[in-house]
Structures are given as C-alpha cells and as structure tokens.
Symmetry: C2
Amino acid sequence: MPQATPRQLKLGAFLMSPGHHVAAWRHPDAQADLGRDFAAYARIAQQAEAAQFDALFLADVLAVGDTSESTGARSARSAYFEPLTLLSALAAVTQRIGLIGTASTSFNEPFNLARKFASLDLISHGRAGWNLVTSNTQAEADNFGGSQHLAHDARYERAEEFVDVVRKLWQSWEADAFVYDKASGQYYDPARLHVPRHQGAHFQVKGPLHVAPSPQGHPVVVQAGSSGPGIALAARTAEVVFTAQRTLPEAQAFYRQLKEQAIAYGRHPDDIKVMPGIFPVVAPSRAEAQEKFEALQQLIHPQVGIKLLSDMLGGFDLSGYPPDGPLPPLPLSNGGQSRQQLLIELARRENLSILELARKTAGARGHWQVVGTPADIADQLEAYFREGGADGFNIMPPTLPGGLTDFIDTVLPELRRRNLFRHQYEGRTLRENLGLPTPRPLADTAPAQAVA
Amino acid sequence: MPQATPRQLKLGAFLMSPGHHVAAWRHPDAQADLGRDFAAYARIAQQAEAAQFDALFLADVLAVGDTSESTGARSARSAYFEPLTLLSALAAVTQRIGLIGTASTSFNEPFNLARKFASLDLISHGRAGWNLVTSNTQAEADNFGGSQHLAHDARYERAEEFVDVVRKLWQSWEADAFVYDKASGQYYDPARLHVPRHQGAHFQVKGPLHVAPSPQGHPVVVQAGSSGPGIALAARTAEVVFTAQRTLPEAQAFYRQLKEQAIAYGRHPDDIKVMPGIFPVVAPSRAEAQEKFEALQQLIHPQVGIKLLSDMLGGFDLSGYPPDGPLPPLPLSNGGQSRQQLLIELARRENLSILELARKTAGARGHWQVVGTPADIADQLEAYFREGGADGFNIMPPTLPGGLTDFIDTVLPELRRRNLFRHQYEGRTLRENLGLPTPRPLADTAPAQAVA
C-alpha cells in the first residue's frame, strides 16, 4: 500500500428515506415515515454535520415509479420531500455541511433550475450542489405530457446544453457587482453584470439570473452518469461524480477514464472528485454484520425484489418469468445502460436465477455493498482511496437514522485513526471543504448591453 | 358603521426586498442587501410571527425587468431570493406563520410546481400557500425560449387548467393513506390513493404526486388577478385574493363582484378571503408621516420613476415623451389591463403630467397608499373591513425592516384595541388561522388502478 499522505477522503451522506435497503422501512432501525418528518431530517442533518460529512446528498425521481397494489403499496418510494425545498429548510438549521440535491435536465427549464439552486446556495452561504440527472422512465414522462421521453443520446445532448446555460446564468454577476451605494443611487455596477444571451439548439435564454452570487461563486456541479455520454458530460462539466462501482478494478478503470477525459477537456484532474456509493452494513463482528444484513434481506417481499430488479434493468418487466429460472435475453433500453450491463454480467458470472439476482441486488439496489466490522469497511474505503479508485465516498446507510448512526459511531473513528478523514471542516463553503476551485469566469458570456 | 362582531381581519406581511417603495433601498430604514441576507429575512419572519400575522407573502417575477445603466442599475429589483427556497428555509425557523409564495403558471410545469408547494406545506406542517400568477413580460419570455409570450386570454386558459391539475395532484393521497405497517409490509392503503390521470388541452399529467398530504390537506390557493378572466379564475379556485384597490367604493365593488361570482360557482362567500394591499406610511403625527413619505419620494430618480410607470402601463416606453407633458394615448396591451386602466383614469382625473403620475404611483407602485397616524391607518383598515371592502389586508411596508417594525409597533396595538386583530393564533395551520375549510375531495379523480 502506498505511504499515507495528507490527502483525506471526502464523504457524502446519501439520505434516502428511510434508508437505502429496499425493505429498510420495515426494520426497527428505520423511521418508516421519515419522508414526511422534517424534524427527523433536521436531526439527521445536524448529526451528519457534527460528524463533519462534506455534504448531504438527496436523489430524486419525478414520479411514483410503481402504484401497483402488489409492489408499489409495499414500497417506501411513494412519498417523500422534494429535494430543493427540503435542502433549503435544512440550510436554515445547519451551518457547515454541503447540501447536494438532484434535479433533472429532462423536465425542468434551465432558468428555473439555475435560480433555485443559486438561491439555495445564497441561503446556505455557499453550501449548495446540483446533481444533474436525465430522466428516463415512462412514469416520469407521464407526468410531463408523456411525449418527452427522450432517447438516451438526445437526453444527453439536451443535458450538455442545459448545464452550459445554467453555468452562464450562475455567472451573471461578478462577486462584487452589487455596490449598494445609497448616496449616489447606484445599486449595482453595470460593468460587472454579464447577460448570458444564450442561443442554442435546445434553449434560448437571455438572462441575467436575478440572484446574487454566493460565497462559493456558484453551486458545485455533481453528476452520476456512467454511460459513454454520461462520462463525457461529467468529464467536461462535473466537479463531483457519484458512481456505482462494485469492485476495485471497475472503480480504478472508471476513475482513470474520467480523469483522463477531464484532462483532455483542459481540466486539472483534482478538480473533479470521484465518489463511489457504498452501502455499508456494519457491526462489531462479521457474524453480527451478516446477521444484520440477513434480517434486512428477509424483509424483502419477493414481488418487490423482482419489480425493483425489473426497474434496474431499464423497465423490462420480469414478473411474468419463472422466479427460479434465468434472466431472459434483454433488449437494449433507454435506461442507464451500464448498470443494466453490470447486472446481466453478474447473473451470468454467478449463475443466478431471477429471484436470486433480485435478492442479491435489491437490497443495495445494485450499489457496492460491504458487510463487516468497522475495520473491514475502513479497509475497503482505504483501498479504493489509496489505489486510484476514489477521492471519497457517498455513504448509503441501509436504514435511517440507524444506519447513519452506526457508520458515524464506528467507521468514522476508524477512518480518523488512519488519518483518512477530517476532525474539523477545512472551510466554510462546500467548495472549500471538497477542495474545489472557485469557478473561473466563462469566456463566452457577453458583457451587459444598455437596453432601453 | 355596523356593530362590532367577533369577526377579525386577516393580515399578510408582503415582504419585498428591501421595501415596497421604489427608492426604499436608499433609505436609512431599509437594508439595501436584504435580498441576499437570509439571517435578516429570518429575523423579519420571526418578528411577523411574534406579531401574529397570518402569513408572509412573497411576490415573484421570472426575470430582471430592466438591465439598463440608467434605471436598472439604480433599482433593487435585480437580485433577490427565489420564493420557494426562501420560504422553505423560513419554515425551519418559524412555527405558526403562513408562508405564501408566488409562482407562475406560464413558465412552470404543474407537476413540478404542485410538488414543491406540497413539500413546503409538509415541511411547515400545513402553512404553505401558492399565489398563482401568469407571466406577461417580454423579459420573462426571453428567459424561456422567447416564444411563449402568451396573449392575455390564452394565459388565463392555461392558468385555469394548470390550477386544476395542481389541485388534483395535491389530492393524490387521502389524509390517512400511509399506514406504515411494518409487520404486514403494507406501506400505504391502495384504496386511499387517487391517481389524477389528467388529460386536458394544455396538460397531460398522470400523477400521483409523491408527497404526503400536510395537516391542512394542501396549500392555500391565492390569486391576485383583477382582470375579467383573473376574477373568474379567482372566484372558481382561489381561497385568498390579493388585490390593488385604492378607494373604498372600488374595493367594495371588487369584493361584491368576487363573492357573487364565487357563489355562482357553488362556493360559500366566506371561503374566499379578499385582502387588498396597503402601503402604510405611519408616524406619531400626520406631519411626521408626510415628512417620512416625502423623504422617500425625494430618493426616487426621475428616470427610475418614469421607467416604473412604463412597466405599470404594460411595458409602454414613456422615456421618449416630455416628462412634463400628458400621457400619450396608449394601445391595449397584454399586461394587467385593469391596473393600466386605473392609472390612465388617475392621470385624467387629476390632470397629471407623466412625471407627476410617475412620482405619484412609483412610490407605492400603484397600490393603496395611506400616510398618517396609527389611528388614521387603523380607521382606513376598519372602514374597508366593516363596510364590505375587505376580509383582511396585505401589508406592504415601504421599507424593510423599518416599515414593518413601524406597523407592528404602532398600528397593530391600535387594531387590537379595537378588537380587530388577534392576540394569539387561532390554529396551527394557515387554513385554520385564515378560517378556511379543509379542501373537499375532487370528484373527478379516478381511484387508483392496479398497474403492472
């Protein structure tokens, strides 16, 4: 193992109500109604902040994916807070932790999205992050006219232009543009206003944005795509990449590919942080950890597990196939193609039936799962971190609040003993804590023109 | 005057950064950078809550209306918080006050808007309100592709359907739909889920919404339109109507018309609260109040005043006309037609030049303006309230925080002496405090169907 360096890992607390395990809500360690209890979220956010996590992270989907009696009504994914409103409220009860929310480029307007994240960034004094996703499910399209269900490549074309518009809007005002000179009557300095006047294939947005810049300049851009176009978009524009990588060689290959592409775009490789998700099941002994995991697995209803597997395979409905039989041949879908491919390979490699694959992947929903002692989990994180697989991790507690408390109380002390994680925040903004630079001005925004 | 009854007036605190007077930001009583200071907003919200205001109210526009050096750079309307994020943050630092935010039906998707307000409603335990507006300026259209600048009637057609979609989405789940039965694995009762499946001329939205209902059922629907289609929309769907009425006879006529139309839609007249805006300039004596007002007026730059008048006249540019001459003949615009008409009549009635009209209306931006002692202002509010002109008022402080403090410290005690305003909140939700009923289930939502 290479020698220890002062470089430390970055940690996100990926809060999914009421935990990442598909049956979490039935477990005693989970609060089943967390998705409507703001006070409980506030406690969790404050706990993560006291533990010095870099950021809270909220995923998002623009629909109830499943309203069936057989599986939807048995799932906790039917109701939860909307990320931007929840993060704004959490901004008011925290001081230092980053606030990263997911929002889709498929069913939003760039002006509205840029504005809400800029406002959150200002409310939180520079702690906001936008996790850019594209929307690919029919259930989401059905809430927006039904016809905007875009093909994979077109979704990413729109996303590429969308993020450019958002970044231009975020740089409408220089940091010191507002002078507030009561005596002269000058509110802002017109020379420090840059009107984007964006004209593109998908968007025509004049701007400027009417939100003042935050202490970190603008929100951190986060992405999670790991398909070809997803990696290209991330390499060009993302500052943090969340990713699902289940083995060290996979993680290393992804890490290398992303950093190389970022360099090809003229970026410094340190300016894009790679943070794989990890689903940690931790207990004092391996046997207890395995027992804890099995207790969760036993709470998975077979129909729920197979439905979730169907979703992870891009919406291919497996409910009509024999649960004990193999995966049928799957058509290429519009969904996250790399995840689909990984699952198919996993089933082939381990010779799993549909139900076995469902159980195996439903729990952690296809993410990297580690079951063991605090030292086991720290060993894994350290290996990924030191051996070129990660700059940090997005922690996906199996249950909330219990699973996060377990990680904080047992794994964080172990990471700190190894000098792998901070004792105190380095800075006050999300960028400062992540070690990301202040955004450079975009060259292609025109200076403001006087208009009548 | 009719005999006093236990009926009391409702009060909104209309927070416009940094005050409603067009030159407010230059005045010592105003905090010029309020639009980027969340802590200051939190103090103001807590102050309004301690004073037992029914609600905070935030207006909104989806653009910087003016980026010119001559007037835009002298105006405070260039940067401020986005309402939904700000209200969500304020929800976390208040307990009882309502949180009403403006959002446009012209440049939003109903699913996204319904969801964010539902989430705010849940975060705040039933204190949210949505002020529905349509967008009518070119500056706003330019931030959304430029081509969606809809004509007046078409904007309202879209708004009519938009609010129906939003209300259906808000009623996706019955109050007790979520059972969280850990033992059986039932998360919600499918019989208490109602999937909207809306199919209309402007929108096709399947739903359901994935936010649990709040203690008040769903957010209060607020409107401000006073054109013909605006009144019709309000009479059918609004629960609170903010309006600009500058004389008692005008207010009485509007009040009567709105309640009659509401009755024609099968509604109880008490279920729609009419709350005119008032711009109060208050001081211990009338002379001091007038002096205070003049001090603000002197801070108005002539170019800024004439530009604002142009905007109030639907975007008709007056900068090329002689300031000391009369208003030129104006074409009928797409803007708020009734406001335009009121200004033209005012200029004719009082024989005002452009600059005189600008000065007269720029200060309070065309709203009802009362300059006087606490008793003067209470007299006016009482007259409107008792004589069929209002159920309450939206207080528009000339400066913030100073103007709100003045109102709370001097006018509220006077209103309480007259038993016109509460000493303590009656309820915990915005509906309870406003005396509004819990929403009735909408007849036209189909029960959920089992889907594969």
